[in-house]
């Protein structure tokens, strides 16, 4: 069946089987291998993308279900050569090692800050509790998100 999904503002249209998972639909689109997968049971969060602004596990979503919805992946965070504050925060605070969980973490925390611009440490930990990181022990991810929150607040003040 023909499936047409808006990904990062562009319409992507392909003929796929109904059983094609969103994560595979995304990854088969040129330039969009930033969304990863790491398990079979919807636990690890490596596949998180935004659907209409909310984080969802793309491994547990059919591509067909996303017709008529807006999908945003990690590749959408950088705009016009400017990195998103969450991306900057992860770099500033060493919030990544191998980078495999990072796209899912970035999308989850981007959505968190859109919803809650000044989250506490506990709120950050809760927000990312659907994503596993094997490398960082989470402490620097929390710092990265706090950095991004403060950076965004400061930038808004200046604006």
């Amino acid at each position: 069946m023909e499936v047409k999904i808006t990904i990062n503002g562009q319409e992507v249209s392909r003929d796929v089987e109904p059983r094609t998972l969103l994560v595979h639909f995304i990854r088969d689109t040129p330039g969009l291998t930033g969304t990863h997968w790491g398990c079979d049971t919807s636990n690890c969060g490596a596949c998180v993308v935004l659907m209409d602004g909310k984080p969802v596990k793309s491994c547990t979503t059919l591509a067909a279900m996303c017709v008529g919805h807006e999908i945003r992946t990690v590749e959408s965070l950088e705009r016009n050569g400017q990195l998103d504050p969450v991306q900057l925060g992860f770099h500033e605070k060493h919030g990544l090692h191998c980078g495999f969980c990072t796209p899912g973490m970035l999308m989850t925390t981007r959505a968190l800050l859109d919803h809650n611009p000044n989250p506490t440490e506990q709120e950050i930990r809760t927000a990312i509790s659907g994503a596993i990181c094997r490398c960082t022990g989470y402490k620097n991810i929390v710092s990265a998100v706090r950095w991004a929150a403060e950076h965004e607040a400061a930038t808004k003040q200046e604006a």
């Binding site: 997968w37 079979d40 969060g45 979503t61 059919l62 809760t126």
Partner: protein, 292 residues
């Protein structure tokens, strides 16, 4: 990653249309909403429906409406919406307690109350919540609508009273004065299914429990309504001794199986401990609550 077997797919545009397709295709057709119970099973090839009816477009089933004597929740309401609802937090705080510990925040953006109840996993928290609150559910089929209470809704493991060509469209939470409710859960790790969970609801008038709901999760083949414990509580003033007695009955009346989460004696112990804790918190909330 594991992948599902092939199937046909249709997007329902109306409730009637979805039901008509269910009736036409028969048992090989399944409704899919959030899909976070069904799709993982399909990827592991433990479930292989040949036809999926996607009901995510049925926005008319997504609501939390306050009526005078009840709150009506549309079946397609997502866990995240139930968690954030201030109305539910005020009138039925057991929902927020449970939602905080259901799956994880990302899964909660997709999973729905209808899907959770119909999945009929004994470890599923909202089943215990609705049973304790003495909810009724609305089922719509080709012949029309019917309602049924939570007692008898669960027939067996992963099996409900919803007919093959019916859809659960609404959950109704009765509102009465003097209400308090709470949910307690123990898990091996955040987001895991419960080792044991208990939802409790009490209605207190004149210092006496006029009605009680006590439902046990992950402690039997289905969600268990601890009827004997509920009967014990009715008509009595709340007290730690009373909670302990109720807990003792819950411990006896559940039928846990040993598994990776724990052996039988530990689960029975939790039935008692969590019943006491849930009743204690439900009572405290009821006593703070002003009559509306």
């Amino acid at each position: 990653m594991q992948t599902p077997a092939p199937f046909e797919y249709e997007r329902a545009t109306t409730v009637e249309g979805a039901i008509a397709t269910l009736a036409k295709i028969g048992p090989e057709a399944r409704l899919i909403a959030g899909g976070h119970s069904l799709l993982p099973m399909m990827k592991l090839r433990l479930a292989n429906p040949e036809y999926l009816i996607d009901i995510n477009d049925l926005d008319e089933l997504s609501y939390i409406d306050e009526r005078i004597t009840e709150i009506r929740i549309g079946a397609l309401t997502r866990h995240a919406e139930l968690l954030e609802s201030e109305l539910l937090a005020r009138r039925a705080p057991v929902f927020r307690d449970a939602e905080e510990v259901i799956a994880d925040p990302v899964v909660r953006n997709r999973g729905t109350i209808g899907g959770s109840l119909c999945q009929a996993d004994a470890a599923e928290d909202l089943s215990a919540v609705c049973a304790a609150l003495k909810a009724t559910v609305v089922l719509r089929g080709p012949e029309g609508e019917r309602t049924t209470g939570m007692n008898g809704f669960y027939i067996g493991p992963f099996t409900t009273a919803v007919g093959a060509d019916e859809m659960l469209t609404e959950v109704r939470i009765p509102l009465r004065s003097g209400a308090g409710s709470a949910h307690e859960k123990v898990e091996r790790r955040a987001g895991d299914f419960a080792i044991a969970a208990v939802s409790a609801a009490v209605w207190i008038e004149g210092g006496v429990i006029t009605d009680a709901g006590l439902a046990l999760g992950a402690l039997g083949p289905t969600t268990i309504i601890a009827t004997r414990a509920e009967e014990l509580l009715k008509g009595k003033p709340p007290s730690e001794e009373l909670f302990a007695q109720a807990g003792g009955i819950a411990k006896e009346d559940c039928s846990p199986v040993p598994d990776g989460r724990g052996p039988v004696d530990y689960k029975r112990h939790l039935a008692s401990v969590l019943s006491v804790r849930a009743l204690r918190r439900a009572t405290a909330r009821a006593l703070q609550h002003e009559d509306r």
